[in-house]
């Protein structure tokens, strides 16, 4: 049985050391890992597939209204998450990786939408989870 895991990252500039730790954890559980991300990332082992450019974020929000700043921040996050999700659907290699995954895992909150959309077309038996600990549990529970 395939133990391919797709780890989706949506946050800006993910820390390579953190990602390497997540990948090492999954590999130690017998998984082969593919990383999907917006931002280029150097990893020793796992292949990294970059899904186009992240939408540009403004360096500062309009000052006077806190609510407007919050709305802007949410909107930017929303745009980034949606862009990643759309790119993952359109990109043939990413789509193939997701479709053949044994487990799909969102490595951060910004990646949830991508995993959620992918899960809608994957078999219900394919775990779609958030966080590496949940992915490790899902791997443990996969049929041998």
């Amino acid at each position: 049985m395939s133990r391919a895991v797709v780890l989706v990252l949506g946050r800006p500039s993910p820390d390579p050391a953190d990602v390497a730790e997540s990948v090492a954890s999954l590999e130690a559980a017998g998984a082969s890992v593919v990383v999907l991300t917006h931002d280029p990332l150097e990893l020793d082992h796992a292949p990294v597939h970059v899904l186009g450019d992240r939408p540009q974020q403004r360096s500062s929000a309009p000052r006077p209204v806190r609510l407007a700043r919050l709305a802007l921040r949410i909107a930017l996050r929303r745009t980034a998450a949606a862009t990643l999700a759309r790119a993952a659907q359109r990109d043939p290699a990413a789509r193939d990786a997701l479709d053949s995954a044994a487990v799909v895992v969102a490595g951060d909150a910004a990646a949830i939408e991508t995993v959620w959309r992918a899960a809608r077309r994957l078999p219900a038996s394919t775990p779609a989870v958030t966080g590496v600990p949940a992915a490790l549990r899902a791997l443990r529970d996969l049929p041998a």
Binding site: A17, I74, R77, I112, E113, V115, A119, A128, T130, G131
Partner: protein, 443 residues
Amino acid sequence: MTTRPHLLYVAWAFPPCRAAGVYRALATANAFRAAGWRVTVLTTTREAYERYTGTDDSLEDLVDPEVDVHRVPFTWPAQETDVRTYSRLRVVLPPLWRRLRRWADMRDFPEAGYGPWRRDLVRAAREVHRTDPVDLVISTANPHVTFEAARALHREHGVPYVMDYRDAWVLDVFSGRRLHGPRSRQARTERGLVADAREVWFVNEPIRQWHAQEHPGAASRMHVVANGWDPGLTDAMAHAPASPEGPEPSTAGVRFGYLGTVTPKVPLSELLAGWRAAVSDGSVPAGSTLEIGGYLGYFAVPRPEMREAIAAAADVGASYAGPVRKAAVAEFYAHVDALVLALGAGRYVTSGKVFEYLSTGRPIVSVHDPGNAASQVLEGYPLWFPARSLAPEDVAAALAEAARAVVDDDDASRTAALEFAAAFRRDRQLTPRIAALRTAVAR
């Protein structure tokens, strides 16, 4: 009241939960049962532990078979990891969903995540009391929502209750700062609960003192019930076979051991630097080893930087034994000559490990801030060797003193150490409180 009073014990974490607080809960329920009480436990389900904390099935065998366990279902939406169960709102606007979820959590009780458990828990407590009247309720935090079951039976039926804090609610035990302001909903709720409590228990004196100042009117009802060590541990050590999970016996040198989760707060690099200094300058005998057992980080998979740090000290005899199962803890202790207690800073923090270490009667090297609450526990232990600071030379000096104690193998010191440790048996922490409460409910 019958001659055998009925205790309702409320704890979210109870076997087979493997969270740290489960040992105190298990010991408390069993101790009251052993003292002749009828004990009913209100807790949550195995499914909840499997989803959120992990389980240790061996712990279920340790529950006294006459303890009646009632399980109240619990869900924790914010911790749900199955993305398929997420609503569109949660997927599309996670920050908004989190705010709404937090508001919903806090509506019934001011505790994120656990607040919604209040209704089911109170309903279950009422049902227990209806079928078999309760004489005393002990609620164990955290979560603090368990106190609500106690308060409900107190308000409706006058049942006295005990609040057992493992940590604290409005105090951050690591930083010493307040987590919630005096006028916060949490602080107001705590004031009401403490005012009506028969007793309030804390795990160490610094936390008790802080709360006594916070609630001066209740200070006389506040007690320290330290965690202590389980008597079964010493029996298991006496009969421990050579184990692949314990350090290998060596013919030369002193075998030092550290057992416990190495969190990022544990001064691992300082310990290893001190160890290297001690080995390099001959402060410890040639051939001495330092074996580190337990999880490296919070996950089952070791944190690479911690593992690498230990591996980098392999040339001076340091090694990593991996996680040690609960059943193998006694074997680990039985096969080391001295123990190293490396802890994060915090005057309110007492590690449960300090009590286990005491039970061994072995030399203990403290590698932590001298202000840590563990120092108060160890003060007076005849084989205690605290490092004056976390500087390598001070850690090395403490290791050297402990090594000398091992080599000297002074029977009188060992006997005195075991006598000192006896006061910290877990059942001895509970005995005075059980006696006092028995008298109180008999009135």
